[in-house]
Symmetry: C2
Subunit: 165 residues, 2 copies
């Protein structure tokens, strides 16, 4: 856990040991035009700046079927975020919001999700628009956007279960 930000007025944090329950592997690295968190946009936009997702050699075969133009969901690790904050003050005005009610980068598991458009792929590099993160951010996952994807596996009974009252 890296604490790059001081606690603001009204905010609260847990005392946390840093012990973890499961491990992540970085599968690539993201290149963006933003070199300081203060310069990053608050969220990505599909008509935003072109960014590079460089996938590490091991995982390049997992890119095989990505088509230019696809909408992708990108998961990445906000490695500079503190993880112990429960209540945050986004406006730094003494009023607070609980962490699970906002999309702040500061959270117990600082995993960001963004929807991007794949402009083109060159071998291990994806050129995309829609990101919002620091240059050098570790990549965790690439998925087709849920609105753009139909499962290939055969249908299952539970697919059709609608809710009880």
């Amino acid at each position: 856990m890296t604490n790059t930000d001081e606690i603001r007025r009204g905010e609260s944090a847990v005392t946390w040991s840093g012990a973890t329950d499961a491990g992540l592997v970085y599968v690539g690295r993201i290149g963006t035009p933003w070199f300081d968190t203060r310069d990053c946009p608050r969220h990505g936009r599909l008509d935003g700046q072109l960014c590079r997702i460089e996938v590490f050699d091991t995982w390049v075969p997992a890119l095989r079927d990505l088509a230019d133009g696809a909408l992708l969901e990108i998961l990445y690790w906000l490695h500079r975020s503190r993880r112990d904050v429960l209540l945050q003050s986004p406006r730094d005005d003494g009023t607070t919001r609980s962490v699970f009610s906002i999309r702040s980068p500061l959270r117990p598991n600082p995993i960001a999700t963004s929807i991007v458009r794949l402009e083109k792929r060159e071998d291990a590099v994806l050129f995309v628009r829609g990101l919002d993160c620091l240059d050098g951010t570790p990549l965790l996952d690439i998925k087709p956007d849920r609105t753009d994807f139909v499962p290939l596996a055969p249908p299952k009974a539970a697919d059709f279960q609608v809710g009880d009252a």
Copy 2:
């Protein structure tokens, strides 16, 4: 890494040491009506079965501002998934798809994302519809859905940067 599934015809996997780069903390546990991965739906639906998200005591204050009816993005850890597969055969027919082009639970970082509707909250428990996972799945994060959220922090210059050619 737990390998609960055998490699199918045509599939390929990496040889991977199991070494990891960052650590996750489980912030809760998900209760669902599905006790075997074979019974889980292929993806969640907002009119689907009612499920319970139980948040661990430490993180309950982070739920404070969640309103009934909200659309939430839930991140959870598919703890039973093998993580070494590059090409998968969802239909088990010898044809394959690369992992980053499908939303299979088997991936290097088996983090699932689903959009759910919060039906109601009772203290540390959220009752939601939209999940697809095994009973007992570890919870990683809760965020407001991106389509339902406007950042509270002041606007920044990069919010308005649109792309180069």
